[in-house]
């Protein structure tokens, strides 16, 4: 059995001064992580405040765009698609979709790589395909 993921058009993300650096990165094909300069720790989602120290001593770095599926589910229905948490090779886990895949053979631990997908009138958003 195989069920191909429906090629859905993602809703446009709301952009703000806080997340602009992330979605500007998406426009350039870069997956941006936050980095706390107080602790050296990386975080998702990026923001101008460190979720480790609450200081604004943060910078933004590009991730390699590779990772593994931490968990997943398929929203069933006429247009089925996969919602997943992907653990980036740098460490943080992010919510995303696994696209262009057979929805009936997904597994935790599968290797994936980022693919940016146009949204409905907004910035592209990072999704993942099987590596």
């Amino acid at each position: 059995m195989a069920t191909m993921a429906f090629d859905r058009l993602p809703a446009a993300p709301q952009e703000s001064p806080d997340n602009k650096v992330y979605f500007d990165g998406c426009r350039e094909g870069k997956l941006i992580l936050g980095k706390c300069k107080d602790t050296g720790k990386l975080f998702h989602y990026p923001r101008h405040v460190s979720p480790f120290t609450l200081s604004n001593n943060v910078e933004f770095v590009a991730a390699k765009g590779t990772g593994t599926i931490y968990s997943w589910s398929v929203a069933r229905g006429k247009e089925p698609f996969c919602v997943a948490y992907v653990q980036l090779d740098e460490g943080p886990i992010m919510l995303t979709n696994i696209i262009e895949c057979d929805l009936d053979s997904l597994k935790c631990g599968q290797k994936v790589k980022v693919k940016f997908k146009d949204s409905d009138g907004g910035a592209p958003v990072p999704m993942f395909v099987l590596a």
């Binding site: 975080f43 989602y45 589910s73 919510l95």
Partner: protein, 388 residues
């Protein structure tokens, strides 16, 4: 009178579809029901507790609508479906601090009449919510996010769909005795795993119902509880906890009950093995499994085995749970099940549950609420009730 405060009134609205009533009206009806149950009147209320389901700013519009004129304490802690369990703890603390004597807690809503697709539609809290730009484009729903908790639990601990199904089977065994239950039919493990897949690995029968209705509780100081002609249900322990995505350090294997539960047990100075009945928030079957582990009824990862083979069924299992049928079979008013969890725990404590599901020795019972989304951000509240 050994406990700092007592639940002296409890009322669950019998409606499951309230096309002919407003939300404010439902709040008032459950408040009146709980006052009648307690033997008190509206003029006795000096503390009011409500959450995001109450129309208007905080509790102001409901206090106005209900004519509460003696208020000197007010708490609108919002933590989704767990709010009302947390409110019980806050009411006890307010009573201990002398801020009020008689606390009213209300919940009501009508998502069913309004045609809400609670679990399978993308829901937004509006502009400016910082996490939503990173979630809404992916079409995440309540169902898929809880399903990911189940997927991970299965991956790490070998939990099976059949084990999850036992949670629903147990709830259905209880619901058959509840004349108000939306799904009173007893179901089997096969029925659950053969029902349509909603969000892998959760089937339709792994999901709770969508219902209208509501409930109310009255918490009072010991002197007042003593003066009333009702069973003495003391609040012996209470706790709350909050969990989120932790900057991307996500661990889906536990809930905030891992914080709220130990806090409540420590206050009550009892242990999980002392608990004779537990109301466990059952938005989905997996929610119950995770909370049962986090509350210490079994080791982390053993929840699937623990709930299997009828272990949650009153009369046969070790941990009778949700004897009203819970959210899975009875109701889930306003998509917020914490209130009804406390109400059924109070019924059990009083010995007023349906005779077919009443536990023989309800000396200590527990209610746990979970509100928000198990897979993203949520809060849990735990209360331990002692029958005196």
């Amino acid at each position: 009178m050994k406990n700092p405060a007592y639940i002296v009134g409890a009322f669950e609205h019998p409606t499951r579809k309230a096309e002919d009533k407003s939300t404010a009206q439902l709040h008032a009806e459950v408040a009146f029901g709980a006052l009648q149950d307690a033997g008190l009147s509206a003029s006795d209320i000096d503390g009011y507790f409500c959450a995001g389901d109450a129309p208007g700013m905080g509790g102001l519009s409901m206090a106005d609508y209900m004519g509460l004129t003696k208020l000197r304490h007010y708490d609108t802690t919002e933590s989704g479906g767990s709010s009302y369990v947390i409110h019980v703890g806050h009411a006890v603390e307010a009573i201990l601090q002398g801020k009020c004597n008689v606390a009213l807690i209300t919940l009501a809503g009508r998502p069913r009449a309004e045609g809400m697709q609670t679990g399978t539609a993308v829901r937004s809290f509006g502009a400016g919510v910082p996490d939503e730009s990173f979630e809404l484009p992916y079409g995440r729903t309540i169902a898929t996010m809880h399903a990911m908790v189940a997927t991970r639990h299965m991956h790490e601990f070998g939990t099976t769909s059949e084990q999850l199904a036992w949670v629903k089977v147990a709830a259905s065994h209880h619901a058959q005795h509840n004349k108000h239950a939306m799904l009173p039919k007893v179901v089997t493990v096969e029925d659950v795993v053969n029902s349509p897949m909603v969000a892998d690995p959760l089937h339709r029968l792994d999901c709770c119902v969508i219902s209208d209705g509501g409930g109310a509780l009255i918490v009072a100081r010991p002197e007042i509880a003593k003066s009333l002609n009702r069973p003495k249900v003391g609040v012996k322990g209470w706790g709350e906890g909050y969990k989120h995505q932790n900057a991307g350090g996500i661990d889906l294997t536990y809930s905030a009950a891992a914080m709220s539960g130990p806090m409540a047990f420590e206050k009550a100075k009892v242990k999980p093995s002392d608990i004779k009945y537990a109301s466990i928030y059952d938005s989905f079957t997996i929610s119950v499994v995770v909370q049962i582990e986090d509350l210490g009824f079994c080791a982390k990862g053993d929840g699937g085995k623990f709930v299997a083979d009828g272990n949650l069924i009153s009369g046969t299992g070790k941990l009778p749970f949700n004897t009203d049928g819970g959210g899975l079979c009875n109701n889930h008013p306003s998509n917020r099940g914490g209130m009804t969890k406390v109400i059924e725990a109070v019924r059990q404590s009083r010995g007023e549950a349906h005779p077919a599901v009443q536990v023989p020795d309800p000396s200590l019972v527990l209610a746990n609420g979970k509100g928000g989304n198990l897979g993203t951000r949520h809060g849990c509240g735990t209360v331990i009730l002692e029958r005196e």
